[in-house]
């Protein structure tokens, strides 16, 4: 599209405003503007529009960047906190490893001390280690139900 001046198109004027033209063309347009009021008015229009866009875009980008950075930082921190081993055991507070180790030691000692109660010996109620008698007939019996040991000898 060309304005009523007809020398430069609106696209060329727009590119002039945006400083996107080769130096030669840029200089030629600049020289032309000093004599052409129509092209000057178009440059003024494009400049004001460009200013509006630039200002709005800059403000928008600045706002977006600020929000995005804050959001990004927040999510990164959250991920880091979640992935931290200590965070899962925060109820143990500081020195978590030492506390867990001390609890483990206590548990081991307790198990050792209580093993007689927790793990009573299995097998018969009594294990006969030796029998000495004048009588020939001695029987050692173990009941089926409670594995009660009975020693039987014939006193005859």
């Amino acid at each position: 599209m060309k304005n009523s001046c007809g020398k430069y198109s609106s696209e060329e004027i727009s590119r002039f405003v945006d400083n996107e033209l080769p130096t030669q063309t840029y200089d030629a347009i600049q020289q032309h503007l000093s004599t052409c009021t129509e092209c000057s008015a178009m440059v003024k229009n494009f400049s004001s529009l460009s200013d509006i866009f630039s200002h709005h875009a800059a403000a928008r980008v600045a706002q977006m960047e600020k929000g995005t950075i804050a959001k990004h930082l927040h999510s990164t921190l959250q991920k880091k906190e979640k992935s931290t081993f200590g965070n899962h055991f925060e109820f143990l507070g500081k020195h978590m490893v030492l506390k867990v180790a001390s609890l483990a030691i206590i548990l081991m000692i307790s198990l050792f001390a209580f093993q007689n109660t927790i793990f009573p010996p299995t097998g018969p109620s009594a294990i006969v280690k030796s029998v000495d008698t004048d009588f020939a007939s001695v029987m050692i019996i173990e009941t089926q139900k409670k594995k009660h040991t009975i020693i039987w000898f014939n006193e005859t």
Binding site: L98, S102, A113, D132, T133, T143, I151, W152, F153
Partner: protein
């Protein structure tokens, strides 16, 4: 942190010492039941309820009478003695703890002559029955239980 460890160890230590004296077993509560088993009229003394099912699963006797029930609190190595019918005596000596069991020496004398001698490893809080001597148309059974404290 140090406070936490101190409190935990102290609590555990007190708990172990107060609740469970297994760490320092010194005496053995030995209970000896002298039973007369026979084929007479059906009878089971109430004092034999804890072991009667085991005896009846092995023996064909119909009458179980508790003649004597003596509890001896013995130290390890200390001899306990119970007089039995028919000029017999029963001697028990808890020797030591061995593999969570009490090693007992058990001896039966008849007019100062040893007629039976055995060494057994008795499960703590459990019992053994020794039988055989004849008495009044029946048989004598000796149930010996031990509990180390």
């Amino acid at each position: 942190m140090l406070r936490f460890i101190k409190i935990t160890i102290l609590t555990a230590g007190l708990f172990c010492l107060a609740v469970h004296p297994v760490l320092a077993k010194k005496t053995v509560l030995t209970d000896i039941k002298v039973i007369h088993a026979s084929t007479g009229k059906n009878h089971v003394d109430p004092g034999l309820n804890s072991i009667i099912s085991e005896l009846e699963s092995v023996f064909k006797y119909t009458s179980y009478r508790l003649l004597k029930d003596e509890t001896l609190n013995l130290n390890f190595g200390q001899k306990g003695q119970v007089n039995l019918p028919g000029k017999r005596t029963l001697e028990v000596v808890p020797i030591k703890m061995e593999n969570k069991r009490i090693r007992y020496q058990i001896l039966i004398r008849k007019i100062n002559r040893i007629i039976f001698k055995t060494q057994v490893l008795l499960k703590n809080n459990s019992s053994i029955t020794i039988g055989g001597p004849k008495f009044k148309k029946g048989t004598l059974l000796f149930n010996i239980s031990g509990s180390a404290h």
